[in-house]
Structure formats: C-alpha cells, structure tokens
Amino acid sequence: MTEPVLEARGIVKNFGRVRALRGTDFTVNEGEIVALVGDNGAGKSTLVKVLAGVQTPDEGEILIDGVPVTIDGPVEARRHGIETVYQDLALAAELDPAANLYLGRETMRGRLLGRLGFIDDRAMRGESERLFAELGVRIQDSSAPVATMSGGQRQGIAVSRAVAWASRIIFMDEPTAALGVVQTRNVLDLIRRVRDRGVAVVLISHNMPEVMDVADRVEVLRLGTRVASFRVADVSMDQIIGAMTGALDSKGAENGS
C-alpha cells in the first residue's frame, strides 16, 4: 500500500491533570473518507485540534506523506494542504460569504493597487459564486452577511472554504450536528464530492448510520487512544459501538489498515 497521506504516532496531550490523548495513533490514506468515532471525552476533538495545528501535542510524531513535520499553528497546517471545518464553523458572521471564503487569504488587486493593500472583491465574489454553484451550496444573496443565513448555508460556506483551499485533507468536526435531514444529506454528498476530487476527509461524527453511509474507514478512539480501525465494508455498526464502549476490546483492531 502507498504511504498514508497523514500519520500520527503516539500523540499525547494533557490539559493540566486531564489526559486528553494518551499516545494515540491515527492514519489517513489518500482520497478516503475516514470517520473518527468515540464516546464523549474520547479525545476526538483534541486529536483534530492537534492535527490542525490549533494545539501543540506534548509528545508524538506527525508524518505527512511519510515525512515527519511539526504543525505549530493553523497557518502551518494549511501550508501542508490541511483544512478544518470547526464545529463552530469559525465564520465571521457580519461579513459576506466571499469575505469568509477568503478570510486571511484575500485576493489582491494587480500592480500598484495590490501593493498598496487593495483587495479584489469582484474576483473573490465571482470565484466564490462559482465554487458554491459547483458544490451545490445555495446562496441567494452573496453580498448579505453570513449572519442572515440558515444553518445549512453556513455549513455549506464553511465546507466550501475548506474545499477551496485543501489539497490533502479536510477535517470536519460534526458537520451535520446542527442540520436537518435534507441539509445533512447535502453535506454528506458534498463530502463524497470532495473525496472524489482526491482530497481525504476526516469526519468526526456521533451519528453511526451516517458514518456507515459515507465513510470508507472508521478509526475508533477510546480514553485518548486508538483502539480499533475498521474498513466499513467489513464491519457492523455493533462492532464499532462495541469498540467505542470497550465491550469489544481490541477485537478486530487494525484489520483494515
């Protein structure tokens, strides 16, 4: 098998006396959808924050395409082609969708104006509208503040932003938690489309049917360590839940990767 696009080994992260991650491993292969599952407090969000550069691990090693890297800061993660859709979406609600899509990475005007710091709003708006259309995100008024938009639209904007910039991996922290049935289906379709573009997606989810539906592989965290890794085709929902709760300790672990 080829080199995993991202591999984490022995990641430890403590918050004071709370041991959030206790030497966990994690693997993402090229162009796959990996579901990262686990009970509350298993360390899913912390692991994603570490891999997205929001938090620095106390111990452990991160490899991208087999090469050890340090990811200290979101900017560094983004340089490696890693984007994150946070649970809170990290949108500037008073700004319009295009401004959010290009937040911190604005397209500048050409020549002198660009050097003076002028941004090219028209280009950014045009490009965002094209991307929203391509990804099936429906925005009626692209000059309205994001705050006026529905939960589904906001989710679409946040996902679109990640898609626009990611070249390797997109992390999504419970992207459907706040959404209705139809919107959830749209987001899952969107995730598949992203995968089909060759970008790996790591999906944190509590929703088992959703995981079974969309993921290619499942990695299970429990008490800050990876306890199992399954290929979705080879596993039942009960087995995954068993691994999450510890009822099925280690059985079937690593059978898929």
Partner: protein, 347 residues
C-alpha cells in the same frame, strides 16, 4: 465595547428543516434600517431641512456651514480613529487626553525650536503625531499582547495622558504657539473658502473610508471585530492588526491635538474630558456596532455632524442649546436599539 458576544443559538440536532430554508423574508423597514448608514444620512438631511425652514436667513449661509464644519473637524478626526477601534469590538476612552497631551508636547517642541516659520510648524506637527502614536501603541500593546480589557487600558491611559500633560504644563495652558500656525492652518482657508481644518478632516475621513472598505487591513479590521478567534484561525495576525488600529486612533488624536492647537492657540488642557464620549456617540449614531464587525466612516461623518448641526440650529432658532444634549442622548439610545434589532433579525 469589549463584551463577549453571545454565540448564535444552535439549532437543536435532528430538527428537520425544509429544503428552502433561507432566512425568512423580513419586513421592509428593518431591511432598510439594517442596510446601511443611509437612515442616519436621512436624519441629518431632515435636520438641515428643518432648520433651514425655521431660520432661512441665518442657518442657511456659507458662514454658518463653515462654522459647523470647523467645529466638527477636530472631533471628526478623532471619531475616525474611534470607528476603526469600535469595528474591532474595542473602545478607546483615551482620545481626548491624548489630544491634550499631544498638543502640549507639540507646543513645547515648537517653543524649544523657536521661530515662526513652516519648519517650526512641521516640528510641532511631527511631535504631536508622534506623541499620539506613542499612546496608541501603548494602548494597543496592552490590549493585544497583555490581553487587558480595552475599556480599562484606555481608561487608564485617559488618566495618565491627561495627568502627564498637567505635570508638564504645571496645570497652566501653554499659550506660546507660533502666530503663523494660527493664521494659516488655524483660521486660514483653502481658496479663501474652505477652512484648512475642514480640509484636513475631510482628507483623513476619505483616506480612512477607502482603507476600511477596500484594503486587506480594512477587511481584517472587520473580521477581527466579527470573530476574533476565527480570524486567528484563518491566519490573520490579530495582535498586530489590533495594535495598528489603536496606533491609528492614537495618531489621529495627536493630529486632532495639533488642529486644536492651531485653532485656539492654546492647549486647552481642561477642555477635552468628554471627547471620548462624544466620539463614541458619533461613531455609534453613525451605525457602527459596539459588538464589532459593522461600521463605516461615512456613518461616522454623519454621526459627528448631527450633534454639531443640532447645537448650531438650536442656538439659531432660539431653543435652549441644552436640549441638544437631550436629543443626542435619545438618538444614541435609538441607534444602539436599531443595531440590536438588526442583530435579532439575524438568527
């Protein structure tokens, strides 16, 4: 103000939403109100019209328009800086004291250099800009790096700047100002029509408006006020941007100090204790949100002119000018209420 914004309520998980779940249509008038600083411009227009009808001979004159604009120009320069600060969801209470401090430093510097020429005035201008800039960086550093609440930092520097100005002058106004400064910038006019002070304020407002609306720095200013954490995660140098914003506010207060010095030929140490509140009032009346992320310089221009027009108009039509304070207080509360209304309309 530096308050935590309550996070938008999340939809309960699993709630079914219709396919077309875009924001529901809103009543037209709130859309208008939320739309822009248009309404505040209309209020200003209404006031001017009303006073023009009430006192066609005295209110409507070039001299009176010049009066209003000159009175407003020093305040506008500070209010422009305050606009940037409030858009980042911050506050700068120090502006009036920084104005006084910068004026004192400027007067001292000009006295030190001596003479009555352009060179002396240039020294005075630079001294005053530098003094303001220093206070701005002081504020910005403590707010961005030391993470001290902006209200407290600038309340502290409000006291410190004024205190130091009084220490330097011994509490007595500095009156040794080059006469040429007063004759040219202070009371002089462009094409013998537009007072130089007004020209300076207009240029400052224009540059600031363009910077805010069209540049990356402006975009980041809005983004930081809208969602500081998201801006940080997006790779925006939040701390540096915040320091720049407070430095701008300080420097503009320094410029205002030089303008006031030119106009009155004295440092007026005791005359600016409520400038901070006046600028905040102007900015907020102009539609800039205290919660950050929203605001325009044009709105601030209107917000500065409305109290000036009211004050002037009341005097002219023979209403006790004290009513101006009552009216402005009411408009301020209304402006904040409208901002709240707009935000509640958003989900």
């Amino acid at each position: 103000m530096a308050v935590e914004r309550p996070s938008a309520p999340e939809l309960p998980p699993g709630e079914v939403i219709a396919e077309e779940d875009a924001a529901p249509a809103k009543p037209r008038w709130t859309a208008l109100v939320a739309g822009s600083s248009l309404w505040i411009g209309l209020i200003l227009l209404g006031l001017v019209t009303a006073f023009s009808i009430a006192a066609p001979n005295s209110f409507v004159s070039v001299a009176n328009a010049r009066n209003i604009a000159t009175d407003a120009s020093v305040l506008l320069v500070m209010a422009v800086g305050q606009t940037f600060v409030i858009i980042t969801a911050g506050i700068d209470l120090s502006v009036g004291s920084v104005l006084v401090f910068s004026g004192v430093i400027s007067a001292k510097a000009m006295t030190l250099v001596g003479g009555n020429g352009w060179g002396t005035m240039l020294v005075g201008l630079l001294a005053s800009l530098l003094a303001g800039f220093a206070w701005g960086i002081f504020n910005g550093f403590l707010i961005a790096k030391a993470k001290i609440n902006a209200l407290i930092v600038t309340l502290g520097s409000f006291g410190m700047a004024l205190g130091l100005a009084l220490v330097i002058t011994g509490g007595v106004d500095e009156r040794e100002v080059p006469t040429k400064l007063v004759d040219t910038i202070g009371v002089g006019r462009l094409f013998s029509q537009v007072p130089w002070l007004v020209v300076v304020a207009a240029v400052v407002a224009l540059i600031a408006a363009i910077a805010l609306a069209k540049t990356r720095f402006g975009r980041h200013t809005y983004a930081i006020g809208s969602n500081q954490e998201a801006s940080r995660r997006a790779g925006i140098a939040v701390d540096r941007s915040l320091m720049k914003v407070y430095a701008i506010s300080g420097t503009l207060a320094g410029l205002a100090g030089f303008m006031a010095l030119s106009r009155f030929a004295t440092t007026t140490v005791s005359g600016h204790s409520t400038d901070n509140l006046s600028t905040i009032t102007a900015v907020v009346i102009g539609g800039t949100s205290l919660f950050g992320g929203i605001g325009t310089v044009l709105g601030t221009v209107f917000g500065v002119l409305i109290p000036a027009v009211l004050q002037n108009g009341f005097v002219i039509v023979g209403i006790q000018p004290f009513w101006q304070q009552v009216a402005i207080g009411a408009v301020l509360i209304l402006a904040v209420y409208l901002d709240q209304l707009r935000r509640n309309n958003w989900q």
